[in-house]
């Protein structure tokens, strides 16, 4: 057994009603790189947080080097030889590399001795693992790739034998990622054990020895990397569940209602989130955007809906241009026939502390039928809400109940009712069934198809591939901010999965 560095036995963790980890068993062999893949929300990060002491498992056991241990906090993890490189770096920006590395491991109140020791140790680590960084450089002046190297040095300085990297390449350029992989190879050669969490299949194939797949809180399979294929992993990751096929006839696409040309969106740090995306949605068709979460779909939706500023590009709504780079005015877009079901209903689509009826007018509260001059017409608002409650079967049927007290599916119905009942020309929907109970999913899917059949243009974003395939008339796949391919909904899961992982897309783009 002594070639097992770390073993998890029956780890179970729930957050309220959300069962994030279900009876997880995992063995990681010493001196290997072990990949853990899964879609967003599959429970990877929760599992690693348990391993690093941020959360306590509800039940189960962690065995390090054959000894069962309890990890109450990150300090306990560090003393057990576990180091973590977080997705979002935990560095003090205005400290030097040296200061960051020794932070929390100063050894004494007087810093001089510690600094000298740390400098020496850093030099040794640099030589041993080819991790060159100037110890006196300020973190804020270092590029992201080097900042990550400092995180690795921090873990090694604390004598970590097991290194967990959480989505390490998410913020790196391809060249930086390749360099990181070389460093990881070096670490492995020196006998360190590495756990690599990612949703990118290409990385798994390139660097790991073994790979475990998580799906919906469960560890569904462990494979030796050399004996598996990208196709098999994609299938395991997405899962072959029973398809919720909805009755859907042939669409009859009409005029172009929404046209996006060369849209580019950067976030506040200047990172390009949406990269030169062009697409068209016609009346009477559903265009689905597939992709692993975080590849720019959210930003694309927000830019089209008028919540986020675009850096360049044009958007035409009903043939008329929309100012995407200037002042954004979602209210004006609504008046022009655009409805938006946002991805995050808890923070964006609804105000959870409001009564149901108050949420039923959010965004449409300027409509004169809800107003008496400057006053709200409470009677009209409640009557309107009650009609929608009846039509969308929202339960409990109480327009005065606080929105937070509705279940996820019913909350989503509140949003859908509000956005659909206006008869918009263009409907953009993000994650229509995220966190929605199974019963409501079918209802929501039916409504979306009804909208199409009424001649609306529907743009749909979902990380659920099945949903995209079931609803869409055309599927666009986004990867790293770009649309990397268009497929018909008959394309196989494997084919789409490869596009989503950025494997096929590269080839296609090159051709």
């Amino acid at each position: 057994m002594d070639n097992i560095a770390i073993e998890l036995r029956g780890i179970d963790k729930s957050f309220g009603p959300v069962h994030a980890n279900k009876n997880i068993n995992l063995k990681v062999r010493k001196g290997t790189i072990h990949g853990i893949i899964g879609e967003n929300g599959a429970g990877k990060s929760t599992l690693m947080s348990i391993l690093y002491g941020f959360y306590q498992a509800d039940s189960g056991e962690i065995v390090v080097d054959g000894r069962p241990i309890t990890i109450r906090d990150p300090n306990a993890a560090i003393s057990a030889g576990i180091g973590m490189v977080h997705q979002h770096f935990m560095l003090v920006e205005n400290f030097t590399v040296l200061e960051n590395v020794m932070l929390g491991a100063e050894d004494s109140q007087i810093l001089n001795k510690g600094i000298a020791k740390a400098r020496q140790e850093l030099k040794r680590l640099e030589k041993e693992y080819a991790l060159e960084v100037n110890p006196d450089a300020l973190i804020e002046e270092l590029p992201v790739g080097l900042q990550q190297r400092v995180e690795i040095l921090k873990a090694l300085y604390r004598k970590a034998d097991i290194l967990i990297l959480d989505e390490p390449t998410g913020v790196l350029t391809p060249a930086e990622a390749d360099h990181l992989f070389r460093i990881l190879g070096q670490l492995k050669a020196q006998g360190k054990t590495i756990i690599l969490i990612t949703h990118k299949l290409r990385e798994i194939m390139a660097i790991t020895d073994e790979v475990s797949v998580m799906r919906r809180g469960e560890m569904v399979a462990t494979r030796t990397t050399g004996e598996t294929s990208v196709e098999e992993l994609a299938e395991l990751m997405v899962g072959r569940r029973v398809l919720l096929r909805v009755e859907k006839g042939e669409g009859t696409p009409g005029d172009v209602k929404l046209s996006v040309q060369g849209l580019t969106v950067k976030d506040s740090r200047g990172v390009t989130m949406v990269d030169d995306v062009s697409l068209e949605v016609r009346a009477g068709e559903i265009v689905g955007i597939a992709g692993v979460a975080g590849n720019g779909q959210s930003e694309l939706l927000e830019a089209i809906a008028g919540i986020r500023k675009g850096t360049s590009g044009t958007v035409l709504l009903n043939g008329q241009s929309v100012d995407v780079t200037g002042h954004r005015d979602p209210a004006a877009l609504r008046a022009r026939g655009l409805a938006h079901v946002p991805e995050d209903r808890h923070h964006v689509g609804l105000v959870l502390k409001f009564e149901e009826s108050e949420n039923a007018i959010l965004g449409y509260h300027n409509d004169p039928r809800y107003l008496n001059g400057v006053f709200l017409n409470i009677d009209a608002i409640r009557k309107d809400a009650e009609e929608k409650i009846a039509k969308y079967d929202i339960r409990p049927p109480n327009a005065r109940l606080k929105t937070a007290n509705f279940s996820g599916g019913n909350q989503q119905k509140i949003v859908l009712a509000r956005e659909m009942e206006r008869g918009p020309d263009v409907l953009i929907i993000g994650q229509p069934t995220r966190g929605v109970d199974v019963g409501a999913i079918e209802f929501i899917h039916k409504r979306i198809i009804e909208m199409r059949d009424q001649g609306k243009a529907v743009l749909l974003v979902s990380v659920e591939l099945d949903e995209i395939r079931a609803l869409s008339d055309r599927i666009l796949v986004m990867f790293a901010g770009r649309v990397v391919g268009e497929r018909s909904p008959d394309a196989t899961e494997g084919e789409l999965g490869l596009l989503m992982a950025g494997v096929e897309g590269r080839k296609e783009a090159a051709e």
Binding site: A305, G306, I307, D329, P330, A331, A332, L333, R334, H340, P342, D344, H347, V348, G349, L350, V351, L352, K353, F354, E358, L362, G363, H365, N366, L371, V374, F375, L376, I378, P396, N398, R400, L401, K402, N405
Partner: protein, 377 residues
């Protein structure tokens, strides 16, 4: 309540929980009194008697309460919009300019009922003006409202010293205050209101601005829960991201909410200036702007809670003064400690007993629900 989902019945949420907090505050305050070697029951007697014992005392209690209703409403309005307006003190102080100007201008020629409306507009205008800048800086420049409103309190203080020693002071006077207003600058007392209950107002300055405070409380309720502006403010206060999604113009609403808040704070100046002193003195606000924060917290930013909370603080002010007078070993500072304890338990620690109370009522609620179900079947 209307639904089985509601966590706590209204009377528990708005009645029992604050009462438990208040009781604990008084118990701890009693221990403090014990610690300085005095009888806490005697102190409690003087507190209650000093606040309610005579018509005159009640008049004083309600006079203080009037002031706190205004400042409490000011904090509450901003709070509904997610803004923490710490600047009520300065806004009330500057609001005094509006009152003083109206009175100095018209008091000798006009009766009070002509001067009063102009003074209301003036006080609200100057208070709003003083809140406009922090609101604008927050909306357009992202300067944090807490920092800027605190700084504006100090600026207001310096500005008023300047005005009261150089500009508004009558020639030849040594005191930093305006001249005393004539009849037109003096608000009538509400002696008739107390005499309905057979009480004699005595020398208490309980005046008509109390009724204005009640009207303001109602107006704030209408604003927050019955107007489009209030809807937009609440959306922003609960969820800025939802407000952005709904197309609500954040900067515009921020500035408007701050100006309404500042206007309410400014109207506080009517009570001491036109109702008690009949002149504007240096430092007439006396911390009422800060008490307003505690009042709003305790009253859950709801006018229906702010009025009783303001009266409670009126009791603490008036009854506290009486304790200090009757029991010399309890100094004025002790009273401040007691007030602090009330703020601590009712405001900062308001959730301390909530879990226990919720648990008690959850089990009870389940039983009640079971009964309803059997009845239904």
């Amino acid at each position: 309540m209307s639904t089985p989902y509601a966590k706590l019945p209204g009377w528990v949420e708005y009645g029992l929980v604050p009462l438990v907090n208040l009781a604990v505050a008084f118990i701890v305050a009693g221990l403090v009194v014990l610690l300085v070697g005095e009888n806490p029951f005697e102190a409690a007697y003087h507190l209650i008697n000093g606040a309610f014992g005579r018509g005159e005392y009640i008049g004083f209690t309600l006079y203080y309460a009037t002031t706190f209703i205004f400042t409490g409403l000011a904090v509450a309005v901003a709070f509904h919009c997610g803004l923490f307006n710490i600047g009520g003190e300065g806004q009330a102080y500057v609001g005094g300019i509006g009152v003083a100007l109206a009175c100095l201008w018209l008091d000798q020629t006009m009766p009070w009922y002509v001067v009063f409306p102009i003074a209301i507009i003036g006080s609200a205008f100057f208070g709003a003006l003083w809140a406009f800048l922090p609101g604008w800086l927050q909306a357009k420049r992202g300067s944090h409202i807490v920092i800027t409103t605190i700084m504006f309190n100090f600026i207001a203080s310096s500005l008023m010293v300047y005005l009261l020693t150089r500009v508004l002071k009558p020639l030849g006077s040594m005191a930093p205050q305006t001249r005393t207003f004539a009849e037109g600058g003096q608000l009538p007392k509400l002696d008739w209101l107390l005499s309905i209950f057979g009480l004699n107002i005595g020398t208490a300055p309980f005046n008509i601005s109390f009724l204005l405070a009640l009207a303001a409380a109602f107006a704030v309720w209408v604003l927050i829960w019955r107007t489009k502006l209030g809807y937009e403010m609440r959306t922003m206060g609960h969820s800025p991201s939802a407000a952005r999604y709904a197309g609500i113009r954040e900067s515009r609403i921020t500035v408007i909410a701050m100006m309404i808040s500042g206007g309410l704070a400014g109207m506080m100046a009517l009570n001491p200036i036109m109702g008690e002193q009949f002149r504007m003195q240096l430092d007439f606000v006396q911390g009422a702007g800060f008490v307003g924060i505690a009042v709003a917290l305790m009253g859950r930013s709801h006018p229906g809670g702010i009025i009783p909370a303001a009266i409670l603080f009126g009791v603490l002010y008036q009854g506290g003064a009486e304790i200090a007078f009757e029991m010399p070993s309890i100094s004025r500072d002790m009273i401040v400690i007691i007030q602090g304890l009330v703020i601590l338990f009712a405001g900062a620690l308001e959730n301390m007993f909530r879990p226990a109370i919720t648990r008690a009522f959850a089990t009870r609620g389940q039983r009640a629900a079971a009964v309803v179900q059997t009845k239904g079947a």
